[in-house]
């Protein structure tokens, strides 16, 4: 059970959070201008690194805010977090 540092509520149990996958995958500016492949990359392709990974978390059972955190997927260490997702 991770102890996740919510920027608003402080360190809380992982069970209070929902995982939101890779961070910094923005909704495309103009989806209509994308090729099928580019759109498919947005929809379906995500990184899966061993090591540092920027990812999104939502404090669902707390303040309900989204934030980003950099977690080391090999050690589960949370190294940094950002308030704006």
């Amino acid at each position: 059970m991770l102890l996740i540092p919510c920027p608003w509520c402080g360190p809380r149990d992982e069970a209070e959070f929902h995982y939101g996958g890779q961070a910094h995958v923005a909704y495309p500016e103009n989806p209509a201008a994308l090729s099928d492949e580019e759109w498919a990359r947005y929809l379906f392709f995500r990184d899966n690194p061993k090591g540092r990974f920027a990812e999104r978390w939502n404090h669902t059972a707390g303040c309900r805010r989204w934030f980003n955190a950099v977690r080391n997927t090999a050690t589960n260490e949370i190294e940094a977090r950002e308030v704006t997702a």
């Binding site: 991770l2 102890l3 209509a32 939502n58």
Partner: protein, 925 residues
């Protein structure tokens, strides 16, 4: 039966039964010590080979002595408190769950502390004391009924008093401190991320709750978990009467029980000599000490020491009668048979690194002790005492005190005074231990590695012979280490035997992964109070009691209990639903629709927001009007549907499906926070603020008119898809003219606390038939209205549902739009929602049934065209019918397809998914 209890050992007698025979033990016994005291040697048959087995150890590492009693399917006799009237039977073969429910009460506790100490042996007690001295909040957990770790087993003294007394007094003093909690009989069994540890406290059958799970978050952890003596693999090492040396010592000192009369000791190290001395002092004759080292230790009085010898055979099918020893590695082997009924074994000591390893710690091979010790670790944990290879009493006390102080300091506390460890008797420095894992032999068929899994050295060699080189693979191939004891004794031994077979050093092989739980934990314990009615929250509407009184069975929809149907006397479900459907189609019915999700969406940008979230246009909706809408995921698949009510320019009320309400709110908040933070929109769940009564049927207008005299109900004044605020039955109400049945219908919303009054007023008219969710499902299916999550499954687009009209062509973008231009979403063979009419109008198709093209099944694999998503009997169609997702379904109208059911191919005709009133003539009554 001879008593093996030491003369003069005091104890209140306790009567018990084992395998149908009556015995007597004393209070403080475990079942194992009581059985040994009664001279019972064979306590189990091994699961695979059926070989007789005896008690081998004295605590949780016991591999053999498994019993069942009461509802407990599998317990270790070595940890089971002897209670008056205990009736246990040995487990022969596999465990079997009891047929009886476990009526015990189980609880959970959440706790936080600065320093958690695991283990209350000398090192743990010293650590807890040192940490507590700094003012840190300390929890110390120990799994035994009597604290002190090995002290009660060895009868060593601390500070001039018996070790067990010192331990009890020191812990009592700790427990008196306000910031210290002492948990006894508490096994820490799991070590998870960020110092989250889970323990089970065994409080006994007389306690309010029999067991409690502790979930502890600690700033720092000190693991003082001790060490296990390790076995040696030799021929016949599984015979009843073969026992770990320190365990035999524990039975003598802790329980006053002599595990045999005449013992041979087989050892690689000095620790067994102390065991031999204690046994000799208690009256066990030590026939010989067989030491694998060439330089043997000092013999206890009268015992012969055979240096450089090993045990090569054990006589006695039902228990040790003799031990054959031989000079190891010598050409002129002179086998010698020694008469004995007890064979004590010590292959050295394995530090208990299980929790450390679970914490993500790396293990290091220590050549001195011939085993693995804690190496580096990321988590905030210290290891102290025998758990890191410190095997002297004085060393453990000092090591523990230092670790406790370090932990408190790291948690932010100042160490002001050095905790002074109490004095211990001088110990002879131990001679270097020898390392022998298995006695070489031509036949390894009875050299047991894992007693509980009946795995021998021969089995391990079969695995390595098959090319397996990793201990993880060997574990899975042989099952060594997979029993209830999780390889406590067999794990490192298995690695060593693999190393022997492959000619590799143990250090290179490592161990298999240590996993939680360290000790077996009951599912009932883990479930705690979350069983039965408390398993999941139950949500009920404000009308619930009425449904109960009127005998409705309930359907679970998410956490909601929804009335399913209202059977009258003598009616079964089918009859009740047909009657309710008939009432709605011909007169008027009412349903509790309060569970629909409701989200209040407001703010200056609310209309723009809904335009982006829904596939259709919501910004053009007029205040006072209602629109049906569909939400998709960016991949274009339907996510939810419902109605949108415009309350004001900047305010909407959105309804969602019952089961999806929370997910839709999360979805909206996610987009608002992460993609469109510039939109000024606020979403609030108001599901439980409202009670909603759906009034449906051609007679609904008259009923509403009677209840709401102030409301103009004619079709021109109150058109379809509009809403009005008014009074219904004297209650402030919002009435929406929407229909989920195709009939003239209204949804009357009132404050939740007025719900029952509204419902009773509706029922008080005497003309309204209550109907449940099943009738609602039939009525909507007759009209081809899909239920998201039943007729859709996350692979279905609005177009697949025949709802192209709900997808805006005008909006520049909305969630999902780009995906409707993907090649995949316009394939002609996509699965479309269609209706099915069975050739036999009485044949009800099972939901989930597949559809095929041919009347006889071809050779497998049989291509499926799709499946039935909804299936009902219809009063108004006078037939059964179904909805189905069928490949290219809209191009198959009138085609006959087949549903394979058992040996049958049931013919069905494909029709439009709208089976009733396709013109929509009934909507205005």
């Amino acid at each position: 039966m001879t008593s093996r209890r030491m003369t003069g050992w005091q104890g209140e007698p306790v009567r018990f039964r084992f395998d149908g025979r009556d015995y007597e033990g004393v209070r403080g016994d475990t079942l194992a010590s009581a059985l040994l005291a009664n001279g019972v040697r064979t306590v189990a048959a091994s699961p695979a080979l059926g070989r007789p087995r005896g008690i081998y150890a004295a605590w949780t590492e016991e591999p053999n002595a498994l019993v069942r009693y009461g509802v407990e399917p599998m317990a270790q006799a070595t940890t089971l408190d002897l209670a008056e009237g205990l009736d246990a039977t040995s487990l022969r073969g596999r465990g079997r769950l009891s047929e009886e429910p476990d009526t015990g009460r189980y609880d959970a506790v959440y706790a936080h502390c600065d320093v958690l100490v695991v283990g209350a042996g000398p090192a743990g007690i010293a650590a807890a004391t040192a940490a507590a001295e700094t003012g840190a909040r300390v929890i110390i957990a120990d799994d035994r009924p009597i604290a002190g770790g090995s002290l009660p087993d060895t009868a060593e003294t601390v500070g001039g008093v018996p070790g067990a007394e010192w331990a009890a007094a020191t812990l009592a003093a700790l427990d008196d401190r306000p910031d210290v909690r002492v948990l006894s009989r508490t096994s820490v069994f799991g070590y998870y991320d960020d110092n989250h540890l889970v323990a089970v406290e065994r409080r006994g059958v007389d306690a309010y709750s029999r067991e409690r799970v502790w979930r502890i978050r600690a700033r720092r952890v000190v693991l003082a978990t001790g060490a296990h003596e390790r076995p040696i693999a030799f021929a016949g090492n599984d015979r009843p009467g073969v026992m770990l040396a320190a365990s035999a010592r524990a039975y003598v000192n802790r329980h006053g029980v002599l595990p045999g009369e005449r013992a041979v000791v087989f050892t690689t190290n000095d620790s067994a000599y102390a065991a031999a001395r204690d046994l000799a002092a208690a009256g066990v004759e030590i026939a010989a000490i067989v030491d694998t080292r060439e330089t043997a230790g000092p013999a206890p009085d009268g015992a012969e020491v055979l240096a450089g010898h090993v045990v090569t055979a054990v006589g006695g099918e039902e228990g040790v009668t003799s031990v054959t020893v031989s000079a190891s590695d010598r050409e002129d082997r002179d086998d010698r048979e020694i008469e004995a009924d007890l064979l004590l074994v010590s292959g050295g000591w394995n530090p208990l690194v299980h929790l450390f390893s679970q914490a993500g710690g790396e293990l290091r091979h220590d050549d001195g002790i011939g085993s693995f010790v804690p190496g580096s670790v990321r988590q905030a944990v210290e290891v102290a005492g025998a758990a890191r290879g410190v095997f002297t009493l004085a060393g453990c006390l000092e090591d523990g005190a230092a670790a406790g102080a370090r932990a408190a300091e790291a948690a932010g506390f100042r160490v002001e005074s050095v905790f002074e460890t109490p004095g211990t008797p001088a110990e002879e420095p131990a001679a270097p231990a020898g390392h022998l894992w298995l006695v070489p032999s031509a036949d390894y068929g009875t050299h047991f590695v894992d007693l509980q899994r009946d795995v021998t050295v021969a089995d391990v060699m079969k695995a390595t012979g098959a090319g397996l080189r990793s201990v993880e693979h060997v574990k899975r191939y042989t099952t060594a280490g997979t029993a209830h004891d999780q390889g406590k004794l067999s794990g490192v031994l298995t690695s060593a035997v693999v190393g022997h077979a492959l000619g590799l050093p143990l250090a290179d092989l490592g161990t298999t992964t240590f996993r939680a739980p360290y000790v077996p934990v009951g599912f009932a314990t883990l479930a705690g109070r979350d069983r039965g009615a408390l398993h999941d929250p139950v949500r009920t509407t404000s009308l619930h009691e009425w449904h109960v009184v009127y005998g409705a069975p309930f359907e679970n929809v998410g956490q909601w209990k929804r009335p399913w149907y209202y059977p009258r006397a003598g009616e079964d479900m089918e009859a009740a639903v047909l009657r309710e459907c008939h009432a709605v189609r011909t007169a008027v019915g009412a349903m509790d629709a309060s569970t629909l999700g409701k989200i209040d969406v407001q703010g200056p940008d609310a209309a723009e927001f809904l335009d982006r979230i829904y596939t259709n246009m919501m910004s053009t909706l007029k205040v006072g009007a209602i629109r049906y809408g569909v939400m998709c995921r960016p991949d274009g698949m339907v996510f939810d549907d419902g109605t949108v009510i415009r309350l004001a320019d900047d305010r909407f009320l959105v309804t969602t499906t019952t089961g999806n309400a929370a997910a839709v709110l999360d979805w909206m908040e996610e987009w608002l926070q992460t993609e469109w933070p510039q939109l000024r929109v606020y979403c609030t769940s108001v599901t439980e603020h409202w009670a909603t009564v759906a009034l449906a049927g051609p007679g609904s207008r008259d009923v509403l008119a009677g209840l709401a005299p102030g409301l103009a109900v004619d079709a021109a004044s109150f058109p379809f898809m509009t809403w009005r605020d008014t009074e219904v039955a004297g209650l402030a109400a919002r009435v929406c003219r929407i229909s989920f049945s195709g009939e003239l219908a209204y949804e009357i919303n009132v404050n939740a606390w007025d719900g029952l009054a509204l419902w009773e007023a509706v029922m008080g008219t005497g003309v309204v038939t209550p109907y449940g969710t099943e009738t609602m499902h039939v009525l909507r299916a007759e009209k081809g209205y899909p239920i998201v999550g039943q007729d859709t499954d996350g692979t279905v687009t609005p177009a697949d549902l025949g709802m192209d009209w709900v997808v805006s062509k005008k909006k520049p973008d909305f969630i999902g739009k780009r995906s409707f231009a993907r090649a995949d979403t316009s394939r002609p063979d996509r699965k479309h929602l269609v209706g099915l009419l069975p050739a036999d109008a009485g044949r009800l198709l099972p939901e989930g049934a597949h559809l095929v093209e041919t009347s006889t099944l071809p050779e497998p694999p049989v291509p499926t065209l799709g499946h039935v998503t909804s299936s009902y009997r219809s009063a108004v169609l006078d037939s059964t019918f179904a909805l189905a997702l069928v490949s290219g379904g809209r191009d198959r109208m009138g085609e006959v397809l087949y549903v394979p059911l058992g040996d049958e191919q049931v013919p069905v005709t494909v029709t439009s998914h709208i089976l009733y009133d396709p013109e929509g003539a009934r909507r205005d009554g």
